[in-house]
């Protein structure tokens, strides 16, 4: 990395106005919240407009950035002094942050547009759009901030938006509970992130990215760097639903489907990957921290895939898949500069194909009276062709069908991991095989085979406002991967922000891990075909083996949390309340009674003869004056 002192990095031009990216959706959210029912008629349009406006600013900033030499592509936009002497609010527009900004505003805008149709029957649609706008603003602050304090503000802001949107149908107890769970589990992660930020502050004397990253990492002790890395990872695990803080994501599917697509698939849940890549300065200085990141990534990619295999709820199946795919990204992010570009590249292509499939699932639910059980689907291909074709494209992309988006980015992660550590690499290959199975299962159960619809189901294709976003996302799912990976285009672009590996990787269309992955995916898909395509799918789920139960119960994640944290926590609370009422207070009351001579006297005091208090105060005052007179005469 070049020393920032050499070039003036402060920016005018379009990038100087990049704060509009945050301000526009924030304004939208404020108008819709304060405007209330008066804005019901046009609220959704304003929401879409603000999101598109942010996209326009992001795109223009991106173009301006491309017009600069690579070394200049780190522009800072100061906003104002936030906490004097500690940190200002300011933005950093560099290849990493602008990639995220384009994803967030681009996919975000498509999902806004889709939601016009999806939420058209909800009389709180305006409120929904105000939360969506709030989310976009917070997410942009998270990725654009030029320091850890601003990042944390955005980090918690997206947490709030996620809470509000998971619980959007708050009158449903399950939705309210899921929202609360998401927030609290995330706070556990935030606790780690906070301590990490504190340690950065006391070690480097700053919270600003430029000020920290321009220092020599070798001067901090390796223990400190490991600690910072692991603490940041705790934060990342919370936000990105990585083990052991994964349990909230499956419940988060209680939110409306566009929310699942935008927040719980394409953008917010990838914030952890962003954090790890952005903080590469610490991770690259600690092999231990990097190793833990890759272990967490691999463990989660397997766990998510296993969970995905057993779900009959289409959204929860996709949520397991999201966990798993973010596991891949996390694995890539733990591999240093060689993995960053693939991790972020996979993050972007995943943003497209997973949003595509979630919105596709939403389209199916829209058509099937909000039915989510895939055992109640089947044969939908013929009645909703656009949804089916776009979903299948997303499906082919995620399983890594050759030449589609996921093929390039996921393969890049697997190859790099294999190069780094064979065990990690082969586990990642195994995960790809599982992906082939569970995603094929989903497609066969939903779009093919016999119709198993409920009696009152009359499926139909969704309106154009919903299908167009699907089509655009599908196009991205086809071509984006090749565009980013071939010729190391994305790696070179990201270099000013995250650095380059010592040698640039070459993409091999034929390689051992690549072929092994393809073979395993094919086996998985074939197995799914025999079980769920060719064979009859029972409408009621069979009991299944121990393994199935294990996966259905999310690998007992909730049971574990309950046994280890919730139950003891409840007992602790009960004991503390009891102790406070009887112990501390009882002791004091007893003491007071003792001093008063008899408890009867205390009771008389407590029944409240105001005059006697007035008298005692007067007495006290007299004593004071007497004491003073005595002292004064000494």
């Amino acid at each position: 990395m070049q020393s920032p002192a050499e070039i003036d990095l402060h920016s005018g031009g379009v990038i100087g106005l990049s704060w509009l990216m945050i301000a526009l959706p924030l304004l939208g959210a404020a108008v819709l919240m304060l405007g209330g029912r008066r804005t019901d008629r046009w609220g959704h349009l304003l929401g879409v407009l603000m999101s598109l406006g942010a996209f326009a600013v992001a795109a223009a900033s991106f173009v301006e950035l491309l017009g600069m030499s690579p070394a200049e592509r780190r522009r800072e936009v100061g906003l104002y002094e936030f906490i004097p002497g500690m940190a200002d609010l300011g933005l950093l527009i560099d290849p990493l942050s602008i990639s995220f900004a384009l994803l967030i505003t681009g996919v975000g805008s498509l999902i806004h547009i889709y939601s016009i149709g999806y939420m058209s029957h909800d009389h709180d649609r305006r409120r929904f759009f105000s939360y969506l706008n709030l989310f976009v603003a917070a997410m942009l602050l998270l990725v654009l901030s030029d320091n850890y304090l601003g990042l944390f503000v955005g980090w918690e802001g997206v947490g709030l938006a996620s809470y509000l949107l998971i619980g959007f149908w708050q009158f449903k107890p399950s939705a309210a509970t899921a929202a609360q769970k998401a927030f609290i589990v995330n706070r556990v992660g935030d606790f780690g992130l906070l301590i990490g930020i504190f340690t950065i502050w006391t070690t480097f004397g700053s919270l600003g990215f430029r000020e920290i990253f321009s220092q020599d990492p070798g001067t901090a002790s390796s223990g400190t760097m490991t600690a910072i890395g692991l603490l940041l990872l705790v934060g990342a695990c919370g936000k990105s639903a990585q083990l052991p803080l994964q349990s909230w994501l499956l419940d988060a599917m209680e939110g409306p489907t566009p929310v699942s697509a935008l927040i719980h698939a394409a953008t917010m849940v990838t914030a952890g990957v962003y954090l790890v890549v952005r903080s590469g300065f610490f991770f690259e200085a600690s092999a231990t921290a990097q190793l833990v990141v890759t272990i967490v990534g691999v463990a989660t990619l397997l766990a998510g895939a296993i969970i995905g295999c057993a779900k009959d709820d289409i959204k929860k199946g996709l949520a397991g898949s999201t966990m798993s795919q973010i596991g891949y990204m996390m694995l890539g992010a733990g591999l240093g500069p060689a993995g960053y570009a693939f991790a972020i590249g996979h993050l972007i292509t995943h943003g497209f194909f997973k949003a595509n499939m979630f919105l596709g699932a939403g389209s199916v639910m829209h058509a099937m009276n909000d039915e989510v059980d895939m055992r109640r689907y089947g044969g939908l291909f013929s009645v909703m062709k656009i949804t089916a074709v776009t979903f299948v494209i997303g499906y082919l992309a995620i399983i890594g069908f050759p030449l589609l988006s996921g093929y390039f980015t996921k393969d890049g992660i697997i190859e790099t991991a294999m190069h780094h550590n064979q065990i990690l690499g082969w586990l990642a290959v195994a995960g790809a095989g599982l992906t082939g199975f569970y995603m094929s299962r989903m497609v066969f159960m939903t779009f093919f085979g016999k119709k198993r619809w409920a009696d009152d189901a009359h499926p139909h294709e969704s309106p154009a406002v919903m299908t167009w976003p699907l089509i655009i996302l599908a196009i991205g799912s086809i071509g984006l991967g090749a565009f980013l990976v071939l010729g190391n285009r994305f790696m070179t672009f990201l270099a000013p922000a995250v650095g380059l590996p010592q040698e640039l990787p070459e993409f091999h269309f034929v390689s051992t891990p690549g072929l092994a992955t393809l073979a395993l995916v094919a086996v998985g898909a074939a197995f799914a075909w025999f079980r769920y395509g060719a064979a009859e799918v029972p409408v009621l789920a069979p009991r299944g083996s121990f393994l199935t139960a294990f996966a259905r119960r999310d690998l007992y994640g909730d049971a574990l949390n309950e046994a280890l944290l919730m139950r003891p926590g409840q007992w602790l609370t009960r004991i503390a309340v009891f102790f406070d009422n009887r112990g501390v207070d009882g002791l004091v009351n007893g003491l007071a009674a003792g001093i008063g001579g008899t408890s009867g006297r205390l009771r008389r005091v407590q029944t409240g003869y105001v005059r006697s208090y007035a008298l005692s105060i007067l007495f006290g005052a007299a004593a004071v004056v007497g004491a003073l007179l005595y002292v004064g005469n000494m």
């Binding site: 906490i83 503000v153 918690e156 709030l160 502050w201 006391t202 480097f204 004397g205 406070d580 002292v631």
Partner: protein, 519 residues
């Protein structure tokens, strides 16, 4: 212009005026009280504008001999710390007046329930007169530079609050009021002994605190005097384990009085630690720092855990405050610039966010006649504005970034971490617990299917909107722009640390500095 004396005189005169109104003119009494409190607010703003943060430490000084034979003065002045706390009081009082509009009438819309709202013992007129007297004393206690004068305000403040709880509170008001009074008198008594001893030992024939800084040198004397002051302040704040009076008092007090009790009166405790304990007894303060930090951290966690287990929303809010006072005391005794500035800002922010929570809980209780969380459910559906405001106030209570409490909690924790990493880490666990107590309360009252008894709820009316809107506006404004307030606080904290003989105010030795030193 004697700003501070005027600030105290206006509400006193207002109180006399209100008290002299003929019987039955309750409505006029409220209007006069509101007008007077708004005048005080306007005057406070006018004074604050003239305050120059980087000028003399104490400004708007007034000093008159009061009891010459022992050198007692009527001495008032403000530095940045006192100024922001006076401003907090001046902002809260008109809001509380407006919020308490019907409280003192004991009016209740509770239908066929066993209502917790019982008729008051005294007239509404008296309630508002007491409120104004209390305002004068709150201003006086923060402005006093004479320790004896401070003590007088410290004790006298109890009287109006005692009557507000005891005559206008809930079913158990007498018990709560007496408990409040006994605790406070006990603490006050210890402080009185310490005040007199300080006067005797110092042999300066004065109670003016600026003249007493650095006078007491003997370590043992410092420790005894510190203990006297500190226990009084710890009961007042209250710190664990002196806290048990607060949940009773806050739960039984009418919502408006609870706001002033927890939002302002309790701050006198933490303010006293910052102002008197640290500056007058610097060595003892350092000696007792480990103890105070342990108590603070216990308080943060203990208060939060007990809050989670509460079934009554006013008690729950009171316990969250015990947790928050732990943060404030932690920040005060960490003795770093960031932690102390954060603690001071925390005192202000906590007043607004907890004030908003208490008032909104009061609006709920007024509609339903119960403070039991289990008696609510699904309020969001019938009163979305009320629920939304409650959520924002709650989120500020759990220190969500973008809302005011975050800045202060972050500064306290990072400032503490600079010197004492482990207590800061344990304290930061409060961040998780806060999410649990706030969101769980919110879920049980506002979410889910609408409870039968809640179905008739109306949303916030015009008056209630005027109560809530300024609080939320301040919470959001200070969440994003804390700088104006911090710029006032920071120089004052810097000077406080000087008096407390803290040499290392920013104990961050960075990698770059270490490297520089090595070369």
């Amino acid at each position: 212009m004697p700003w501070l004396s005027i600030l105290m005189a206006v509400p006193v005169l207002g109180a006399v005026g209100v008290a002299l109104l003929p019987k039955g003119s309750d409505k006029l009494a409220k209007q006069v009280a509101l007008l007077v409190s708004l005048v005080v607010l306007a005057l406070t703003i006018a004074m604050a504008v003239q305050f120059s943060p980087n000028g003399n430490r104490f400004q708007f000084e007034e000093k008159y001999s009061w009891i010459p034979s022992f050198g007692v003065h009527y001495g008032v002045a403000v530095d940045g710390i006192a100024l922001v706390l006076i401003a907090l009081s001046a902002v809260l009082v008109p809001i509380v007046v407006l919020a308490s509009w019907h409280d003192a009438e004991g009016a209740t819309r509770a239908l066929d329930l066993k209502s917790e709202l019982i008729p008051p013992k005294r007239s509404a007129k008296t309630y508002f007169a007491l409120l104004l007297v209390l305002e004068a004393m709150m201003i006086g206690v923060f402005a006093a530079t004479d320790i004896f004068l401070f003590y007088v305000f410290f004790e006298a403040m109890l009287i109006p609050m005692y009557f507000m709880i005891g005559s206008y509170g809930g079913v158990q008001r007498s018990y709560a009021a007496v408990k409040f009074l006994l605790y406070s008198l006990f603490g006050g008594l210890l402080m009185l002994v310490a005040v007199i001893a300080l006067y005797v030992v110092a042999e300066k024939n004065t109670f003016m605190y600026p003249e007493l800084i650095g006078v007491i040198q003997d370590p043992t004397t410092q420790k005894w005097l510190f203990a006297g002051f500190f226990i009084a302040f710890a009961v007042k704040a209250p710190l664990w384990p002196f806290h048990t009076w607060l949940p009773d008092a806050a739960a039984q007090a009418p919502a408006g009085a609870a706001v002033l009790l927890v939002g302002v009166l309790d701050k006198v405790g933490t303010y006293g630690m910052l102002r008197f304990c640290l500056e007058l007894f610097p060595d003892a303060s350092k000696f007792f720092t480990p103890l105070v930090i342990v108590l603070s951290v216990i308080g943060i966690i203990y208060g939060a855990i007990v809050a989670i287990g509460q079934t009554d929303m006013k008690r729950l809010i009171a316990y969250t405050s015990i947790s928050h006072f732990g943060f404030i005391a932690l920040g005060v005794f960490a003795m770093t610039q960031n932690a102390q500035a954060g603690a001071t800002l925390y005192m202000v922010n906590h007043g607004f966010s907890t004030g908003a929570l208490f008032l909104l809980a009061g609006f709920l209780i007024h509609r339903r006649g119960s403070s039991q969380i289990a008696d609510y459910g699904g309020v969001q559906k019938v009163a979305p504005l009320l629920a939304g405001s409650f959520l924002i106030a709650g989120l500020s209570g759990l220190a969500l970034p973008g809302l005011s409490s975050f800045v202060s909690e972050f500064m306290v924790l990072i400032g503490t971490y600079e010197r004492y990493a482990i207590p800061a880490i344990i304290g930061a666990l409060g961040v998780i617990l806060a999410a649990i107590y706030i969101l769980w309360m919110y879920k049980r009252t506002m979410n889910g299917p609408t409870a039968e008894s809640v179905k008739g709820f109306t949303d916030l009316d015009g008056r209630e909107k005027w109560v809530v809107a300024p609080l939320i506006a301040v919470i959001i404004a200070l969440g994003f722009f804390p700088k104006p307030v911090l710029d006032v606080i920071n120089p004052a904290v810097d000077k406080t640390l000087d008096s407390a003989q803290v040499l290392d105010k920013k104990p961050v030795s960075t990698v770059a500095e270490k490297k520089g030193a090595g070369q």
